[in-house]
Assembly symmetry: C2
Homo-oligomer: 152 residues x 2
DNA sequence: CCGACTTTTCAGAAATTTCTGAAGTCTCGG
DNA sequence: CCGAGACTTCAGAAATTTCTGAAAAGTCGG
């Protein structure tokens, strides 16, 4: 038990869950490597070896993980290769990035409201939709604050 | 302004946003029809006409929307066709269904923790991950309660 | 029960997403 | 500056997802 093989399995399963959560396949697998590695930081080449994937697809995955702020590039410790690691607030960041969708929903509802007449059934439904997403958007900052406090 | 064409555009845009949020394309478009229709309820045939899609794909979309609880089948008002409509608590339901992902993350983290040795860097990272999702899962019921109260 | 109409199912087609491999670019040590 | 190694880009291949169309099944009024 607790051997390398079991860890690899757990990592791949976690990656599949991340895909459920909206990440692209290779980004998810790459993130799983960052979670499960023994080392403080990893290089693109190490990830490619670990996943048996091409350097190209790993490069793309790293780029997107950097963009959403889940990993960070480390000040190079003299090596020629770039080192990356999971950021401390990665999970809160991932959650927040999904809230972009909430904002988009809010705007979509507002657009629908503008396109319908008051009193229209559609108008009413869209108003309810907007109310819900407005509520959510208002609550989430406080939620994340509570997390950061509790996690100090 | 506020004509049919503008509404159709808003509906299709909203559908694209729903796709961002994780729904399948046809399910999203179908849901948009439920939102934007003038009528109290709609039939599968009407949806197919509106979307210019096959009866088959509409049937599949309706099935999945029923499964997640976003729409409901109405007690048939004497007609031969099945009537459906958006459920009142559709948006809260949609949000809740996404929380399934949170639970899956929690379990994936736990599995990883079990597969690594205490003190391992990976063990620590996974523990942080689990803490975050456990926190989220704990907060969400209260969040939805606040919504239901405010929305009474 | 029958017949007309609607819905469901499912195999295959179409479209989209995702990955690879190779060429090009960049960086750093020497 | 040059050469070696590492990273990035991108066109095309591969895999997956999604949609359609036709056949089967179900349902209701008569």
């Amino acid at each position: 038990m607790n051997d390398r093989h079991e860890q690899w399995q757990a990592a791949e399963r976690l990656a599949l869950t991340l895909v459920e959560g909206g990440l692209q396949r290779m980004s998810a697998r790459t993130l799983a490597v960052f979670l499960f590695t023994d080392q403080e930081s990893v290089t693109a080449g190490e990830i490619a070896d670990r996943l048996e994937a091409s350097a190209g697809s790993v490069s793309g995955a790293i780029k997107s993980l950097l963009t959403v702020g889940l990993i960070e590039r480390l000040p190079a410790p003299g090596s020629r290769r770039e080192h990356y690691r999971l950021r401390d607030d990665a999970w809160a960041t991932l959650f927040t990035s999904q809230n972009t969708v909430i904002q988009a929903m809010l705007q979509a509802a507002a657009a629908g409201i503008a396109a319908t007449e008051t009193g229209d059934p559609a108008h009413q439904r869209l108003t309810q939709m907007r109310a819900f997403y407005a509520f959510l958007l208002g609550e989430l900052p406080a939620l994340l604050n509570r997390w950061h406090e509790q996690n100090t």
